[in-house]
Symmetry: C2
Subunit: 616 residues, 2 copies
Amino acid sequence: MDSDFGIPRELSDLQKLRSQYQPQLPPCLQGTTVRVEFGDATTAADPSGAHTISRSFPHTYGQPLAHFMRETAKAPDAQIITEHPAIRVGIVFCGRQSPGGHNVVWGLLDALKVHNPKSTLLGFLGGSEGLIAQKTLEVTDDVLATYKNQGGYDLLGRTKDQIRTTEQVNAALDACLNLNLDGLVIIGGVTSNTDAAQLAETFAERKCPTKVVGVPVTLNGDLKNQFVETNVGFDTICKVNSQLISNVCTDALSAEKYYYFIRLMGRKASHVALECTLQSHPNMVILAEEVAASKLTLFDITKQICDAVQARAGQDKYHGVILLPEGLIESIPEVYALLQEIHGLLRQGVSVDKISSQLSPWASALFEFLPTFIRKQLLLHPESDDSAQLSQIETEKLLAHLVEAEMNKRLKEGTYKGKKFNGICHFFGYQARGSLPSKFDCDYAYVLGHIGYHILAAGLNGYIATVTNLKNPVNKWRCGAAPITSMMTVKHYGRGHGAATLGKPALHPAAVDLKGKSYVLLRQNATRFLMDDVYRNPGPLQFEGPGADSKAVTLCVEDQDYMGRIKQLQEHLDKVRSIVKPGCSQDVLKAALSAMTSVTAILSVMSSPTSGSTPY
Amino acid sequence: MDSDFGIPRELSDLQKLRSQYQPQLPPCLQGTTVRVEFGDATTAADPSGAHTISRSFPHTYGQPLAHFMRETAKAPDAQIITEHPAIRVGIVFCGRQSPGGHNVVWGLLDALKVHNPKSTLLGFLGGSEGLIAQKTLEVTDDVLATYKNQGGYDLLGRTKDQIRTTEQVNAALDACLNLNLDGLVIIGGVTSNTDAAQLAETFAERKCPTKVVGVPVTLNGDLKNQFVETNVGFDTICKVNSQLISNVCTDALSAEKYYYFIRLMGRKASHVALECTLQSHPNMVILAEEVAASKLTLFDITKQICDAVQARAGQDKYHGVILLPEGLIESIPEVYALLQEIHGLLRQGVSVDKISSQLSPWASALFEFLPTFIRKQLLLHPESDDSAQLSQIETEKLLAHLVEAEMNKRLKEGTYKGKKFNGICHFFGYQARGSLPSKFDCDYAYVLGHIGYHILAAGLNGYIATVTNLKNPVNKWRCGAAPITSMMTVKHYGRGHGAATLGKPALHPAAVDLKGKSYVLLRQNATRFLMDDVYRNPGPLQFEGPGADSKAVTLCVEDQDYMGRIKQLQEHLDKVRSIVKPGCSQDVLKAALSAMTSVTAILSVMSSPTSGSTPY
């Protein structure tokens, strides 16, 4: 099955042009003399989980941040890595294919070769299964020629998405030893980077010399934390989907007779739906995070949409566009509980046709209330991460169905006096994943590939490559690396009879922050979007001219650059130290002491585990 | 409900750039002195229907073709229209919104104003309903500013798609008289242009001075005949869909585990599916015309797909992309017969839940065999043109379901030994209709708008605007007009007990020509497409650079230019006449006579109604 991977292929004219695009590198990665500065030892963002994480990852927890800088940068403690022996590195695609993945491979290859032309890059064929089966392809510039800046994962392919069981981990270790790998780069999202951290820990424990590096590539955009601002693929997916959503908005406005319900990919979190809303201004979006936070029931959501339809009918508007994230269904409390029961029974080996008879009375009542097509979809086996098969559950049809029933009821009762409600459903899933990557994703992925090399050259293990300050042009980007363990959290599960069990430390999909700037922006505009049809049409993905260099709205609004601020803080601390040296005046010392006492007091309070501040 | 139409709106950067694009005009339409040359009187392409058509359209049948030429063109009989009094013209959107529609309005406005700044263009708000209700908006350059080169029909909107009943025709006539219209331009496809012809005839009969002009705008691409090479909107729709199809192909190749079934819009005919296949090279397409011609049953189609899946499994390939036109379902003989029974019962007023019990035994057997979701969809009321609600019938799900069942059966029986079959379904419908129009559609629509004016200036009624030689650059395009009646055909329906009834003369959707060059090209490549994954990715719609000026493959392959050849023939005949004038030598006369005798003999045989040649 791997015979087709990596073969040269015929490109269309546009693909050819794109294949000749050379992504820029930020100044710190240009040339061959990159300096590494190590920051302080990292902790976990959630202090309450720190102990658990440190126990599970004794070899890889608490490692320092790393910053990559220009040779000429003023950083007294930074080292220049001068030796660049030939190394052998393996690379593997995990998880859903995301536009830009190929450029990580390209960036890594370029960095390897520019530092030592004798270094070797081996691509594992067919994803994690290829890693375990030790199927490789040597990646060269020739092999890459028709894959540069192109979408998909078809250079190397991907299959199952996990390297987690003891058997799988052992097989991966064998592969790395057998192939004499100095490094293994894992391209993926939340799950795959958790696996990467686990591999790194196991390799360290067993004295396997292969260092493991993760690269954040996932169209869901949910590998997001203080160190990682966004993921490769997210930008493209949102642009392609926004193009289609705005086409549908134009369509709705032209015929004025349909409500379109559009479900978007993105797994549990609603980042894609939020970003697409900010790009294309549909009438309504229902985020999974809102529903979970307000514990909205199916009935509540239906009512919310019906009230909106009725308000618009009051302005003689009988059309609209409503976005739904695929994770919405799991966030509805009663549906979630039903799914938990179903999954529990499936795990006990109960056959699908027997499940409905074994549900608890209330779950059974809900199940019977739902239309047949949804029942079938809820009965599907859960995915490897225990979530429902979100891409297969047609939430858009369920809601369109419920809204139509409710509107007909209101019409009959006379509480609604407008025209008959007409819903049309769409699922925007697989048609965006294989897209040509946007310029942003091409650049970001290529730079991350380079950083992957520098992490290995610095001898680091269990790190994820990071680029921050992404909302600014490439020449302002800051490159670094953070231990994957520092992004982990530990979940407390309340299972069965009130006994809370601790989950394994892991990366978890970041939810949309309902206090964050992006969400606030959405709320500020929600009424205008709902009533005024201020549809925005960014048009099809362009590579030149207006829009070609635009970035995700959420990325620009959120103003993150945690890594930049960490560096700034370090500079302040260094400055204090250099000013207040023994021999300085009593006054200066007193002032410093007084100021620092107050700073430390405030921070102690803010970062105590009981202060209730949620991790980022 | 019309208060929002035509209001200025905020454009994205790309939309702004596009709004400044100025389409070219072919040389014959530049300046203000356009010559009109009238060709011979037209006949209908299908000689057997000519008599019926001439009887139904006594005032508008048999009118000559018109060619528009430069002032300096050598054409002795051509007239220059020198008088351009101020006129009042109405314009109305009918039928499915198609990208480029706005540019017809723009082209018409520009032509009106350049010939007489006092002329007026009235847009009917809300489509044919707006025409009937006499709701208008005066279209000016200011009103158009944010609609030039933009998708959708939201400048004027559209509603119901017909002007056909006596009441509707009378209301339209009243509107044209009341508003003092010199011309009425109808933008639409097959149905709307048939309505336009009927209006033209009625207006002529009742001595209403308003001349009616049709413009071929339909994303289905099925208003196609000797005079009309393609329709506005078709190019964009095929490009947007091909982008998405090729994304899905890349996706399939990356994960190697899914078969994607994609249903495409296009009504009864499969032009969109054929064009998209030639642009993006998916593994398989099943055209409605093939199925109808070979009388393939549901079972045959399922077997055909299963055999393909099995052949690919033999090469260790477990992924693929299969395109299905929405018209496929109606072309399957037994499903068509079932639909006829259902529609018959619906017309008799039988309620939906009683229908299954009143079907004939064999129809009932088929109905019961089908999955529930399809049964529901087949029971929907037919559309105004008597076809099923094709966009609502999920043929892709039906086939994926049948293929999965058959593959599982083969697996059980041991006749198939590969991996389990996994199907994923998509409908690419409404997400393309509202797209920004391609450069081709912008140009084509704008030129057609100009021609609309010249048809009115020449005093013609019941004509459709035509541009031929479209595969060449704009400066080679030939502009003309043909009576709509010359494109009509008469269908013979075999109803009930063998008695054939004659249908009304009408434009009918052109089917994909199974002897045509495009289809031959598809067949030549079918095996390679099926087995070798030679997916082609044209990428997202671009407005600059590679691909921006590309045209539909079918348009380029088919090499039509009927209008150009008609003109050439006329030139030959003129030349013969000018050489063989009284006084020429006996030898010349003899040679001419001998050659012409043989020509006329051949043509008489070829164009006799019994020769069995199908109309174009």
